[in-house]
C-alpha cells in the first residue's frame, strides 16, 4: 500500500467523514482516494476553490460535529496557516496532512524535504500550541493518522500529520488492524441543553479541555477568533486573556508524556545516538542495525511526535551518550531543539541535506566517522 493511501484509509477508519482539499502534489493521492471512498461511507468530499477555503470548510464541518481533514503540501500548508491558528484558539478538532516537499516558495514539486518542522509549530501568528506527528513508514502513516484524529478530538485542537514525499509515495506491505482493534476517541459533548446559558469555554482546571457543543444542537453558543471568555464572547480583560492562553498551552503540555510517541533503539548503552523523524528515520535505523552487527555503540531515536517537542527524551538520555547526530532534510530545524534541551551534557551534531534527495545510510556512516 502507498503511504498516502494508508493515510486516507486510516482517516476513514478513524471516522473521518468530511474532507476538503485543493489539488497539490505530493499529497494528491489522498484527495483522489477520498473523493471515491467518502460517498460510499456516507461522508462528503469537496474540492474547494483554494487552500484557505478547504481549511475553512474543514473547520465548519467539524463545528457541525463531523470529523474532518484536509491534505496539502508546501505552498498549500503556508496558505492554511491563518485558519490553523483559528482552530487552535477556538479549540476545533481537525487534522491537517502536510506531505512535505522542497521549499521555499513553489520549491521542488515533487521532491522530498523535511523543512516544515518549524512552520508546523509556528506557522500562524500568535502563541498557540500544536500537535505534530511524523510517520516514517506506511504502517506508521496508518497508525499516526488514527492517533492524529484521537488526539485532535480528545484535546480539541488541530493536529498536523507531517509526512513527506518519500513516505507519502512509498509502497510497503502493512498489516491493517481488525475493526475491534482500532481504538477511537470521540470529542466530549455536553449533556442535554441547559435552561440557562451554556458556557462552552468554561473549564474546571487550567489543563482541562472545554466541552463545546456542535452547532445545530440547540445550545446557541458563540464561536469567535477573538480572544474570548468562558462564555465564548470577546474579552480584553487581562486576567481572562492570560487564562485562555495559559489553558490552551497547558492542556497540551500537561499531557506531553502521553502525546509524545518516541521509538528508541539500542539507546541504553550507545555512545552515539542517531535522532530523526519521518523518512530519514529509515536510513538512521539501517545504520544502527548494521553498526550494531559490527559492534558499534550506536542507537537511534524516531520522533513520531515532533510537537510538543519531547524534550524529556533528551533530558533523560543515559550518561554514556556522548553525541546525538540529528539527521534531517532541512538546515537543522530539529537539531536546534535538541541542542536547546541538551544543556551541554552531550554534543549535538547535525546531518542536514536540502537537495531534494533523501539522506542515505552511506551519508550517515560518513558523518559517523570521527564521532565514534
Amino acid at each position: 500500500m502507498q503511504g498516502n493511501r494508508a493515510c486516507a484509509l486510516a482517516a476513514l477508519h478513524a471516522g473521518m467523514r468530511f474532507f476538503a482539499g485543493y489539488p497539490i502534489t505530493p499529497s494528491s493521492e489522498i484527495a483522489d482516494f477520498l473523493a471515491a471512498e467518502l460517498p460510499r461511507c456516507g461522508g462528503s468530499f469537496i474540492q474547494m476553490e483554494d487552500e484557505i477555503a478547504s481549511m475553512g470548510a474543514v473547520i465548519g464541518a467539524s463545528l457541525a460535529g463531523v470529523k474532518a481533514m484536509t491534505a496539502t503540501s508546501g505552498p498549500g500548508f503556508s496558505l492554511k496557516q491563518e485558519l490553523i491558528g483559528y482552530a487552535a484558539l477556538c479549540e476545533i478538532p481537525c487534522v491537517i496532512v502536510n506531505v512535505q516537499r522542497g521549499g521555499p516558495s513553489t520549491g521542488l514539486p515533487t521532491s522530498p524535504a523535511q523543512a516544515d518542522v518549524m512552520q508546523s509549530k509556528w506557522g500562524s501568528h500568535g502563541d498557540y500550541p500544536m500537535v505534530v506527528l511524523c510517520p516514517s513508514s506506511v504502517a506508521e502513516t496508518y497508525e499516526l493518522t488514527i492517533n492524529a484524529f484521537n488526539l485532535s478530538e480528545m484535546l480539541r485542537t488541530p493536529v498536523v500529520l507531517l509526512s513527506d514525499e518519500i513516505v507519502g509515495h512509498l509502497y510497503e506491505k502493512i498489516t491493517l488492524p481488525g475493526e475491534p482493534d482500532i481504538v477511537l476517541t470521540e470529542r466530549k459533548l455536553p449533556g442535554p441543553c441547559p435552561a440557562g446559558k451554556y458556557h462552552p469555554y468554561d473549564t474546571d482546571s487550567m489543563s482541562d479541555v472545554p466541552v463545546i457543543p456542535n452547532v445545530g444542537t440547540g445550545f446557541h453558543c458563540h464561536i469567535t477568533g477573538l480572544i474570548h471568555d468562558g462564555a465564548g464572547f470577546p474579552t480584553r480583560d487581562p486576567a481572562e486573556v492570560t487564562s485562555l492562553l495559559e489553558r490552551l498551552h497547558s492542556k497540551i503540555e500537561s499531557r506531553k508524556r502521553s502525546i509524545c510517541l518516541v521509538e528508541r533503539r539500542e539507546v541504553d548503552d550507545a555512545r552515539v545516538v542517531l535522532c530523526s523523524f519521518g523518512a530519514s528515520v529509515r536510513s538512521c535505523f539501517q545504520v544502527v542495525r548494521e553498526g550494531r552487527s559490527q559492534g558499534l555503540e550506536i542507537g537511534g531515536i524516531n520522533l513520531k511526535t515532533v510537537w510538543p517537542f519531547p524534550d524529556f527524551v533528551f533530558k533523560e538520555l543515559p550518561a554514556n551518550v556522548e553525541t546525538v547526530l540529528v539527521c534531517e532534510m532541512n538546515r537543522g530545524q530539529l537539531k536546534g531543539e535538541v541542542e536547546r534541551v541538551s544543556c551541554g551534557r552531550y554534543r549535538v551534531v547535525g546531518l542536514n541535506k536540502c537537495s531534494g534527495t533523501m539522506i542515505t545510510p552511506q551519508e550517515i556512516e560518513s558523518a559517523l566517522e570521527g564521532l565514534l
Binding site: P39, E49, G216, H220, F233
Partner: protein, 260 residues
C-alpha cells in the same frame, strides 16, 4: 432572538447595521424558522460583529472566510439553515473568490451583504464597492477603480436568488430577506447601508439622515430602473428581486452520489 446581555452593540450611533439586523430578525420571525437549526456565520469587520448579539448558534470566523466555513457546515449537516452576514470589504475583496464559488456551486446558503462602501472598522478605507469618484481614507483624491456590482457578480457566478435593498427601504428589505431564506440555493441580498462616520463625512453625507436620503434618491425599484434611459441610470442602482432562477442545489446533487 437577541442576546440582550451582550448589548449595547459596538456600532456608532446612526450606523445602518442595526436596521439590516432588524430586517433579518423580522424575516426569521416571520418565517418561523427553527432557531436551533439556524447558524449565522460572519467574517471580520463592523457588520460581522453582529453575530455576537444574535441568540442562535453563531460563528465569527476569519476575514473573508465565512462562506468556506458555512460550506463545510452545510455539507456536514444539510439540515442546518446557514446564513452569512458580511460586510462589503469582507465578502467582495478578501472573500471574493469564495463568494463566486459559493454562487457557482449554488449551495443552499443565504448571504446578506452589509454594503457601506468602505472598511469602517479600520477607519474608512476604500473597498471593491466604493463608488467611483467618491473619497475614502485610502482614496483621498477620489476612487479611481470601478466597483463591483455584487448583484451582477452573483448572478454571473451562478447564484439563483439575487436581490438588493437599502436601509431606507427597510420594510421591503425584510420581505427580500424572507424570500432569500426561503430559497433553496445560493441566495444573495445586498443591502446598501450608511457609514456616515467614515464614508459619509468624506462625501458630503456626514449625518445618518443624509446617508438615508442618498439611498432613497439612488435606489430605484427594478421595474422603474429598467424604464430609465441609459443616461438616467448613471449613478442609480436597481432595488428589489433582481434575479430568481431554479437550478440544482449542491448538497442535493451530492446527496445523489451518497444516497442521502
Amino acid at each position: 432572538m437577541l442576546r440582550l446581555d451582550r448589548l449595547p452593540h459596538i456600532w456608532c450611533p446612526g450606523c445602518g447595521n442595526g436596521i439590516v439586523t432588524q430586517a433579518f430578525l423580522r424575516a426569521v420571525h416571520k418565517r418561523k424558522m427553527d432557531t436551533d437549526k439556524l447558524v449565522v456565520v460572519s467574517g471580520i469587520g463592523c457588520s460581522s460583529r453582529v453575530v455576537e448579539f444574535l441568540d442562535f448558534d453563531t460563528v465569527h470566523t476569519a476575514h473573508g472566510r465565512a462562506i468556506p466555513f458555512a460550506t463545510g457546515m452545510k455539507i456536514a449537516n444539510p439540515d442546518l439553515n446557514v446564513v452569512i452576514l458580511a460586510g462589503d470589504g469582507d465578502i467582495a475583496a478578501i472573500g471574493g473568490n469564495h463568494f463566486i464559488h459559493g454562487a457557482r456551486r449554488n449551495i443552499d446558503l443565504t448571504v446578506i451583504i452589509f454594503n457601506n462602501f468602505n472598511y469602517g472598522m479600520t477607519g474608512g478605507q476604500y473597498s471593491p464597492l466604493t463608488v467611483y469618484g467618491e473619497r475614502a481614507a485610502t482614496a483621498p483624491y477620489g476612487m479611481v477603480e470601478t466597483p463591483f456590482d455584487m448583484c451582477e457578480l452573483a448572478k454571473g457566478a451562478g447564484a439563483t436568488f439575487v436581490a438588493r435593498s437599502t436601509t431606507w427601504h427597510a420594510s421591503d428589505l425584510t420581505g427580500l430577506i424572507d424570500r432569500a431564506l426561503q430559497h433553496r440555493g445560493f441566495s444573495v441580498v445586498e443591502v446598501v447601508t450608511g457609514c456616515h462616520v467614515n464614508y459619509g463625512k468624506l462625501n458630503g453625507r456626514e449625518t445618518p439622515v443624509k446617508m438615508l436620503r442618498w439611498q432613497r434618491d439612488h435606489g430605484v425599484p427594478v421595474d422603474k430602473y429598467h424604464q430609465l434611459s441609459e443616461e438616467d441610470k448613471v449613478g442609480m442602482f436597481p432595488i428589489g428581486v433582481l434575479y430568481h432562477f431554479t437550478r440544482p442545489e449542491y448538497t442535493h446533487e451530492y446527496g445523489k452520489i451518497t444516497g442521502r
